[in-house]
Each structure stands twice: as structure tokens, then as C-alpha cells.
């Protein structure tokens, strides 16, 4: 028994190192079996399964070598519903990868059990290719969620498009009840979305596809038209259209819960289209509680078409410098705003803009300011107006400009008082 254990430990499918600890733990009972009741093997399967659910994969693998019963338990479908494939190359990542033998095992014995699958892929093309190879072997499974996650520079984009598409459509065609799909930064295209719609339109609820340059507005419109259960959608601004919003607010469509839009500038001075206020109004009428999350990564002079009319944005993030004027428009036209993050602004203080936002954005509960300037008194006024609904307040210390009323040392008291909890500005080390 012992011999067998140690032999198997070496060619154990798991990729992880340092197995001695776990091995000892498992071996203990078998070595002392004289003292222990010998009927461990007769532990009911459901109890064993319950215990196994708490064990890390490696420990389960060791346990599976104890006896036939435990080995059977190891392979129970319930334990293989979810898997995250980590695909990293030593040349491009510091992290360990899922061992190839384990991948083979899963494809061979458990692919039909898989339901929630994600791939974490590093910046190398090899890893993205490996992910596609696995995907194209998932023929006899029925996935509910699939996530392709680039942990560093997106590598799926470097694959030949056809290769990626054919792997992805294997899943679309075979898993007819996909409900969540996260394929940000991939070369997915319109025809493959058509395949998705054809096979999964009844079940699809979540689709995240930010920065997928091969998808056109028509491609995403087709998804919105057919997948009436879609509740969460993430895409880039260039895919957003009035038609899309209207399709999402059609009567057949369930209420949308989240819509995330990334507004990214590819080259300076880019022109952006506008969305009609009536389309947004239709959305709000149909899904009164929906969250509109917008991330802006624009140059200052590209904001022309934005915030001219009322927009139902709830979470607003400015990743680059944004002008006072645009923030003034935000105060006027974003009545549903819940969270606002401004990473940078010009050199003039944002006093009036903040006060206006406090005044008009009655739901604002979180604000973050990076490279901006606000006078201490305006900031205190802002906090006072918002009061305790401000649950997140993340302000760099340099943002706050001391004035005649408050010094930097006083401001944390004053703000804490209005918030009803201790608050300090964020600090970076000065060394």
C-alpha cells in the first residue's frame, strides 16, 4: 500500500509541488490502521462527497489513492462541475500553469461534467493557443459559463482569427445552454455571435465582450434581438447604437440589469457618435433599475458628444484627464449617478463642479479623486451635502488644497464628522 502510494504520488496528475504534507495527512490513517476502525472505506458516498468538496484538488487526488471507494468518489461528476484552466508559460509568467496531465485527464474523464469553465491565460500566444486546443476538445459537454480571461497583455488577439473562432464555436454549438460568456479582448466576430445566438438564445444571460474589434454594431444587435433573457452586457462604445438600446428595451426582452460601456480612444482626436436621449429614456422605462457603467479613456478634446443630454449613467469612471467643463455637464445631466471616479483633471480646482454634483446627483454614494484639485472648504461642503450616503470616499491627499478655513490636518476631523465615521485621505509614500 505504502509503496503504491509513493509511486503514484510521483506520477500524480497534479502539477503542484510540495506534496509531502498532504501525503502524510493521507497516509496517517493507513499506517495506523491497526488502531483505527477499518471501515473508512464504507463511508457513505454522499458524506465522502461532502468532505471532498472541502478538499483542494491535490488532496482529493491523494485521497483517491486510498481505496477503490474513495477513488470512485474522486471522479464523481459533482466535483468536476467547475474548473479554471491556468495557462501560463514560464517565459512570460511567474505563475504556475495547470499541469498538462491534469488537463488531459479532465478532457478524457470529466469534460461531460464541466459546467463552469474559465481560462486564465498569460500574455503568450502559446497559452492562448493551448486554451483554444482545450476549447475545441470540449465537444461532449454542456457549459453554462465560459470565461476567457487574459491575465496580462491579451493574447487571444494574436491568434489567427479562424483558429480562435472555430474553437469558440465548438462550445457554442455543443453547449446549448450557455448562460454566461466572458470573451473580452478576443477576435470574436459577427458570424460566431450568430452561431451563439442560434444555439443559446434562450439561455444567454450575461455577455461580456469589451474590446472585441471584429464585432460590428449589427453583430451585437443580432444578439440583443434574439437573446431576450440577456440581463448583463459589456461592450465598447463603438458597438452601442440607438437600435441596440431599443432592442434591449423591447417588450419581449427581460429587464436589463447591467450595461457596461468602455469608451476608448484609439487615436487622438477621434470622433464619437451620439446616442439619442429618447433611446436612453426607452431603456430606463423598460428597465428602471438598470445600472449603466461607463469607463472613459479619452483625450480631453474627445468629450464633445458626451453628457450633452441627460444620460442614465450610474457608475462613471474617467481614466484620463477630463476637463472641468465635462464634469460640469456630468453634474447637470447624470441624475442617476451612484459612483464617480476622476483620475485626473487640469490645474484648476473642481469646487463648483463637485458642489453641483452633490446637489443634483442625489444617489451619489461613492467618489474617488486622483490627480485633481479641490479646495478644502469646497470638499467639506460637498461631503456635508452628501452626508452619510457617501459610503466610499477615496481622495488622494494632494487633491485637497488647504485654504483659509481648513488645513490638511483639520480636514479629516471635519469630514469624519459629516460622514459619521473615521475618514482619512489616501496617501502615497514620500521617500
Amino acid at each position: 500500500m505504502k509503496r503504491r502510494l509513493s509511486r503514484e504520488r510521483e506520477d500524480s496528475p497534479s502539477s503542484c509541488e510540495g506534496p509531502t504534507d498532504s501525503c502524510k495527512r493521507v497516509r496517517q490513517p493507513t499506517e495506523d490502521s491497526g488502531d483505527l476502525p477499518p471501515d473508512w472505506a464504507r463511508l457513505p458516498q454522499e458524506i465522502l462527497l461532502h468532505i471532498f468538496q472541502f478538499l483542494p484538488l491535490l488532496d482529493r487526488a491523494f485521497a483517491s489513492q486510498v481505496c477503490r471507494g474513495w477513488n470512485e468518489a474522486f471522479h464523481m461528476p459533482e466535483l468536476w462541475r467547475c474548473f479554471e484552466f491556468e495557462l501560463n508559460q514560464p517565459a512570460s509568467s511567474y505563475l504556475k500553469a495547470t499541469h498538462p496531465d491534469l488537463i488531459k485527464q479532465i478532457i478524457k474523464r470529466h469534460s461531460n461534467h464541466l459546467q463552469y469553465v474559465s481560462f486564465k491565460v498569460d500574455s503568450s500566444t502559446e497559452s492562448a493557443e493551448a486554451a483554444c486546443d482545450i476549447l475545441s476538445q470540449l465537444v461532449n459537454c454542456s457549459l453554462k459559463t465560459l470565461g476567457l480571461i487574459s491575465t496580462a497583455r491579451p493574447s487571444f488577439m494574436e491568434l489567427p482569427k479562424s483558429h480562435f473562432i472555430s474553437a469558440l464555436t465548438v462550445v457554442f454549438v455543443n453547449s446549448k445552454s450557455l448562460s454566461s460568456l466572458k470573451i473580452d479582448d478576443t477576435p470574436v466576430d459577427d458570424p460566431s455571435l450568430k452561431v451563439l445566438v442560434a444555439n443559446n438564445s434562450d439561455t444567454l444571460k450575461l455577455l461580456k465582450m469589451s474590446s472585441c474589434p471584429h464585432v460590428s454594431p449589427a453583430g451585437i444587435l443580432c444578439v440583443a434581438d434574439q437573446c431576450h433573457g440577456l440581463r448583463e452586457l459589456a461592450l465598447n462604445y463603438h458597438l452601442l447604437s440607438d437600435e441596440l438600446l431599443l432592442a434591449l428595451s423591447s417588450e419581449k426582452h427581460v429587464h436589463l440589469e447591467h450595461l457596461r460601456i468602455d469608451v476608448v480612444s484609439e487615436n487622438p482626436g477621434q470622433q464619437f457618435h451620439t446616442i439619442k436621449k429618447s433611446s436612453w429614456d426607452a431603456m430606463v422605462r423598460h428597465s428602471p433599475k438598470f445600472n449603466l457603467v461607463m469607463y472613459f479613456f479619452l483625450y480631453e478634446d474627445e468629450f464633445g458628444p458626451f453628457f450633452r443630454d441627460e444620460i442614465p449613467v450610474t457608475h462613471l469612471y474617467f481614466g484620463r484627464s477630463v476637463s472641468k467643463e465635462v464634469l460640469g455637464r456630468v453634474g447637470m445631466n447624470c441624475p442617476r449617478l451612484v459612483e464617480l471616479v476622476v483620475c485626473a483633471n487640469g490645474l484648476r480646482p473642481l469646487d463648483e463642479e463637485l458642489i453641483r454634483i452633490a446637489e443634483r446627483c442625489q444617489h451619489l454614494s461613492a467618489i474617488g479623486l486622483g490627480e485633481c484639485e479641490v479646495s478644502c472648504s469646497a470638499f467639506v461642503e460637498f461631503v456635508k451635502m452628501c452626508g452619510r450616503r457617501l459610503s466610499q470616499l477615496s481622495i488622494m491627499e494632494e487633491v485637497l488644497i488647504p485654504d483659509h478655513k481648513y488645513s490638511l490636518d483639520e480636514i479629516h476631523w471635519e469630514v469624519s464628522k459629516h460622514l459619521g465615521r473615521v475618514w482619512f485621505p489616501d496617501m502615497m509614500p514620500t521617500w
Binding site: 509568467s93 476608448v264 481614466g319 490627480e371 465615521r421 509614500p429 521617500w431
Partner: protein
């Protein structure tokens, strides 16, 4: 047998940091009642060539040693620079010099402590009395740790609070003088210069031909001169220099003749002397107010990182470092080299890196800029790589302070606004709109108009030709698209922080764990020894180790409820999860900063117990063994998390 009862006391003072005669308590101990005093410094010439310290750092060190030697000579003594490793050579010296007392300054860093323990052992075997004094830091760091319940504080605010509850640092001691030396002599042999002289830079194998004159000359004399000028007769100017924010010019970015950080690093300047000079200046300028603790920020940040690192030998690593978040950094040697060699194509970044390489010092805002660019901002390269480059080039890079700052800049620890990336174009422009700093360090861009000097690739061809610098030919094109890179990176950081905070709502800000304790358990590498970590979202014991260990029963119960909810929600709609969890996230809301000691309201004390519990747990595992178990639980933990079907909601 007491050593002091021996008729003749023969002392050795061992210089490491603390390269000064003023405020040097261990040195004074060496002189007290001694008949002979020898001051030694160990230098391994072989190590010099092999180490990754750059030439500026070696030059600074040798200048410090020369200055020390010449100051000691004024006292009829001198410095003994000993070639080799202390552990090999001390036993021989003890015999040869009949040493009865060894003194040195306390080193708080893990490897220093280890080395000193070994030397103490050798000394005790040789019957040598050892006297150690704290003078590199304002406070005894162990006291701070003790006050915090046995673990170093992990936020700066907490640290400030602790320090302000302590006695002020001890006032600096007088320098060693002839009077204090009394009858104590230094026996100097005829061949002292050959055996123990301060080596020259080229003897260490550095090419000195092409070396520019030092912008930062090393040594205690220089440090004291700077200090004097710093707090010179014009106290208002000094005040501005120290405390008012620099704006709209390149001048703060340049090496100031008043700058002190390298001198503090090598201990040419006592931090306590600096501390008391600051207090004095404050009292002179602001007569009415008592100094607030933020006055000492520069000194305290340094102290904070020394404290945080004092018991953590893996403080400078991601793997096996219990306070460091694991981030899947990209391994990319080419991109790293472009950054380190000032070839990124972003003038602001390249100018800073050029200044760093040439002069050995950059402004702290510049450090933020290049560190953010390398890690979470643009290149997504591990902070450890950046730290190594700083270690080579930066004069004031100390192990603890350097690693600590990189942990902060990369948002790997000590909580930062991860959602805020410094823009490699806009940030510099805000500080120095005219771009004089860039023109100085990147002469190739000198003739660009201010409008394009931060983003010359956007300049029309005729502007580039007029500036005699074509982008892509004379100066590189930008190596990344910042808008796209920061979009990707913020999204990744958001996902990582989201997993840590177990927050599933839409708010970006709410994902920043509001209390450092939550992150303490973040490093998966604790794997086997500490099964629970924050990465496992819902497994029974996992989620709250950091914060609410004493409530394990309760939290377990809650988790089983959550578990059921999840199970159910898969059958119905995964979307209920999100709103549930969004609400649930309020349970985790914890006051922004641990300012408990000064803010009695809001159940602070209970939290601090939790915090301590969390810390104890984590630090209990912070042994050398923790690394061995590191990679173990990775796959499985993530699986566990996925088992709850929350792999990528929101």
C-alpha cells in the same frame, strides 16, 4: 566575569550604516572607558564587482568612508576598511586585537538581524562584550510592533497613530570628540593604508574614466553642511522647500543641493537630528501651533517601511510574502529593459530614468510615475523587477524602504487607489508644463515645442523635422498605447481586488479593501499552513480569517447560507447573486483607515481585536517554511471559488 573589570578595554566599533560621528550612541559606547578603539568597516571587493549596486552607489559609499576616515583622523584615529566578510574575519580580529568590546548600530532588517546574531555568537565565544544601540530609526521598532499587539502596523495611518501615542524620539547625542575619547587611542600600523585604507572606485573594478562628477557627494560632512543650509538663516525659504507643494516648474524634480535622503539612507545624517531640526524650524515659523505629525512624514514613511519589514524576510518578494497581493504580472524582459534604459518612448518616463541612472536620485513624484508605469499602469511587469533596478541605481534605496515603496506603488500592499494610474503624459505636464526637465535629460527632444514635448509622437511631421528629432528614428515611438493599457490594467486590478474584498457589486471603489487586514491573508502561498485565505470566496473557514476570526462560528453559518443561495441561483438566475452580494458587501464595510486610537466611536476596539487576531494568524505562518508550501493550493482554491459559480460575475 565582567568584561569591564579587565584592566584594559579594547573596543571595536563596527560601521555598517550610521556612517557618522554625530548622534552615534554605539560609537560613544565603544569609546567609553576604552584604552583602544578601532572603527571598522567590512567591504568585500569581490562582492563589489558581483553585486548589482551601481557605480553611483559605490562611489557614494566610498566617499562616506573617506569622510569618516578623515574625521576620525582629526581625532587621531582612523577607519579600518577590512576586505572580506565579517563572519570570516571577526574571530581573527578578536584575537589579533585582543578585543574586549564590540559595538554597532542596531539593524532592523531581517538579514541584518541574522548576520548580527551570528556575529554576536562569535563574539560571545571569544569573550567579547557586544553593545548594540538603535540610531538608524527614530524609534525602537520592536516597541512599535509591541504597541500594535505584536505585529507591525500595515497602514501608514495606523503607524502614525501609534507613533503619536509614543514618547518623542530621543534627542540626538553629541558627536565623538577628542574629549570624549580621553586616553583612548587607535593603534595604527605602518602599513595601514595598504591593509585597511579606503579603496578607490577603480580598485573595485569600476570604470571611472567616463564617470561624471557626483551630483550627490557622499559623507557626513556634506550631510551636515546640507542640513545647515536646509535650516539656514532664512527659515521661510526652508519652510517652503520642506512643506509647501512644488508647482509648475521643473525645479523640485531636479537634485536639490539641500536634499538629504541618500544621507539618511547611509546614516551620514542622523534621522533624530533631522527630526529635531524640523521641530525647531516649525516652532520658529509657526509660533502658535504645536507640530502635527504630518510634519515628519518623510521620516515616518521610512520608519513605517522599516517596521513593516523588520520581521518579514520575504518583504521584497511577491511569493511567500504574507502582506503582498498576488498579481499575475507579465514576464517581459524586453519591455523591462526599455523601461530601465529610458527607451519607453514616453519622454516623461525616459527623462526620469535617465536622471536616475546619471545621478542616483529622483523626486518622489517621479518615483510614483515610473513605478506606476512599469507595474499596474502600463507595462504590467512585476514590482520586484523595478525594485531591483532601483536597488542598483537609487542612492537612497534601502532594502525595506525600497521594497515597501514598490509594494505601495504597484498596489500590492498597504492599500492604494489602484483605479488611479499616473498618466505618463499628463502627470509630468501638470508638474512642469514647459518640459524643462525633459529637455535637460533628453537633449534629443530639446527643440520640441512645449505643446508636444510630453507626447512628441503626436507632433506633425514638420514640427518633428523642425525639432531635428523624428519620432521612430531619433527617439523611440511610445512602447504602449496608454489608454488601452490602462484600461486593461485597471480591469485586471479590479478583478483581483474584487476577489480579495469578496465584493461583487459594480462599484469600483468598494473593491478597494478598506482595511489592510483583509489583504493580509491574501497571499495564496500560505496554502497548506494557513488553509483559509481571502481568495477562497465561500469555503467555510476561509473568508474572514483576516477580519473576524473570533466569529468563526457565525461567519461559517452565514457562509452556508450564501452557499445555498448560490446553489439556488444557478438554477434560477445568476443575477440574483449579484444584488444579494452587493447588499452583503455592506457587512464588510469597515472604516476607511484604522484610526481607532483617536476615534472612540463606532466600535473601534472590537475591530482592533479582530485585526490582531488576523495578524497573529498570518504572522504565525510567516516562517521560512511558508514558501515551500507556496504553489500548493492554487488550482484548488480557485476551483473552490468557481465551485460557487462566481468566477466572473460582474
Amino acid at each position: 566575569m565582567s568584561v569591564s573589570s579587565i584592566s584594559s578595554v579594547s573596543s571595536v566599533h563596527w560601521f555598517r550604516k550610521g556612517l557618522r560621528l554625530h548622534d552615534n550612541p554605539a560609537l560613544l559606547e565603544a569609546a567609553r572607558g576604552s584604552h583602544t578603539l578601532r572603527c571598522v568597516y567590512f567591504l568585500d571587493p569581490w562582492f563589489a564587482g558581483a553585486s548589482n549596486r551601481g557605480v553611483n552607489r559605490w562611489r557614494f559609499l566610498l566617499q562616506c568612508l573617506e569622510d569618516l576616515d578623515s574625521s576620525l583622523r582629526k581625532l587621531n584615529s582612523c577607519l579600518f576598511v577590512i576586505r572580506g566578510q565579517p563572519a570570516n574575519i571577526f574571530p581573527r580580529l578578536f584575537k589579533e586585537w585582543k578585543v574586549s568590546r564590540l559595538t554597532f548600530e542596531c539593524d532592523s532588517e531581517p538579514f541584518g538581524k541574522e548576520r548580527d546574531a551570528a556575529i554576536k555568537k562569535l563574539a560571545s565565544e571569544a569573550g567579547v562584550e557586544v553593545i548594540v544601540k538603535t540610531s538608524h530609526t527614530l524609534h525602537d521598532l520592536d516597541r512599535i510592533t509591541e504597541l500594535n499587539g505584536g505585529q507591525p502596523p500595515l497602514t501608514y495611518k495606523r503607524f502614525q497613530t501609534l507613533v503619536s501615542s509614543m514618547e518623542p524620539p530621543e534627542p540626538p547625542l553629541e558627536p565623538l570628540t577628542r574629549e570624549l575619547l580621553g586616553n583612548c587611542v587607535t593603534p595604527i600600523s605602518a602599513n595601514h593604508r595598504e591593509r585597511y585604507g579606503v579603496p578607490l572606485l577603480d580598485e573595485l573594478g569600476f570604470d571611472t574614466e567616463s564617470l561624471d562628477p557626483a551630483v550627490w557627494p557622499g559623507g557626513e560632512s556634506e550631510a551636515l553642511m546640507r542640513l545647515e543650509r536646509h535650516f539656514g538663516p532664512d527659515s521661510n525659504t526652508a519652510w517652503k522647500e520642506n512643506f509647501e507643494r512644488p508647482k509648475m516648474s521643473s525645479s523640485p524634480l531636479l537634485a536639490s543641493p539641500l536634499g538629504l535622503s541618500p544621507y539618511l539612507r547611509f546614516g551620514c545624517l542622523s534621522c533624530r537630528l533631522f527630526y529635531y531640526k524640523l521641530t525647531e524650524l516649525h516652532n520658529k515659523v509657526k509660533k502658535n501651533a504645536s507640530p502635527s505629525i504630518s510634519l515628519y512624514d518623510k521620516l515616518l514613511w521610512r520608519e513605517f517601511f522599516y517596521t513593516a519589514a523588520s520581521n518579514n524576510p520575504r518583504f521584497d518578494r511577491m511569493e511567500g510574502n504574507p502582506i503582498c497581493i498576488r498579481i499575475p504580472w507579465d514576464r517581459n524582459p524586453e519591455a523591462l529593459a526599455k523601461w530601465a534604459e529610458a527607451k519607453t518612448g514616453f519622454p516623461w518616463i525616459d527623462a526620469i530614468m535617465t536622471q536616475l541612472r546619471q545621478e542616483g536620485w529622483i523626486h518622489h513624484l517621479a518615483r510614483h510615475a515610473v513605478a506606476c508605469f512599469l507595474t499596474r499602469g502600463d507595462l504590467w511587469i512585476s514590482w520586484e523587477e523595478g525594485m531591483k533596478v532601483f536597488e542598483e541605481l537609487l542612492l537612497d534605496a534601502d532594502w525595506s524602504v525600497n521594497a515597501g515603496s514598490w509594494l505601495s506603488h504597484s498596489c500590492s500592499s498597504f492599500f492604494q487607489q489602484f483605479f488611479h494610474c499616473y498618466c505618463p503624459v499628463g502627470f509630468g505636464r501638470r508638474i512642469d508644463p514647459n518640459g524643462d526637465f525633459i529637455r535637460r535629460y533628453l537633449p534629443v527632444l530639446r527643440d520640441f515645442p512645449a505643446k508636444f514635448i510630453y507626447d512628441p509622437w503626436n507632433a506633425p511631421d514638420d514640427v518633428q523635422r523642425a525639432a531635428k528629432c523624428v519620432i521612430g528614428v531619433d527617439y523611440p515611438k511610445p512602447m504602449v498605447n496608454h489608454a488601452e493599457a490602462s484600461r486593461l490594467n485597471i480591469e485586471r486590478m479590479r478583478q483581483i481586488y474584487q476577489q480579495l474584498s469578496r465584493y461583487r457589486g459594480l462599484s469600483l471603489l468598494a473593491t478597494v479593501p478598506s482595511n489592510h487586514m483583509e489583504v493580509v491573508g491574501a497571499n495564496e502561498s500560505q496554502g497548506a499552513t494557513a488553509p483559509p485565505t481571502c481568495w477562497r470566496t465561500h469555503s467555510s473557514t476561509s473568508s474572514h480569517t483576516g477580519v473576524r476570526r473570533e466569529q468563526q462560528g457565525a461567519s461559517r453559518a452565514r457562509h452556508s447560507i450564501t452557499r445555498q443561495r448560490h446553489a439556488l441561483s444557478h438554477r434560477t438566475s445568476p443575477y440574483t447573486i449579484q444584488s444579494d452580494l452587493t447588499e452583503r458587501s455592506h457587512e464588510f464595510a469597515i472604516p476607511k483607515q484604522p484610526g481607532r486610537l483617536i476615534w472612540p466611536a463606532g466600535g473601534g476596539t472590537r475591530r482592533s481585536e479582530k485585526e490582531e487576531a488576523g495578524l497573529n494568524r498570518c504572522h504565525g505562518d510567516d516562517g521560512p517554511s511558508s514558501s515551500s508550501s507556496a504553489p500548493k493550493a492554487q488550482d484548488d482554491e480557485k476551483m473552490q471559488e468557481d465551485a460557487e459559480g462566481v468566477a466572473f460575475c460582474s
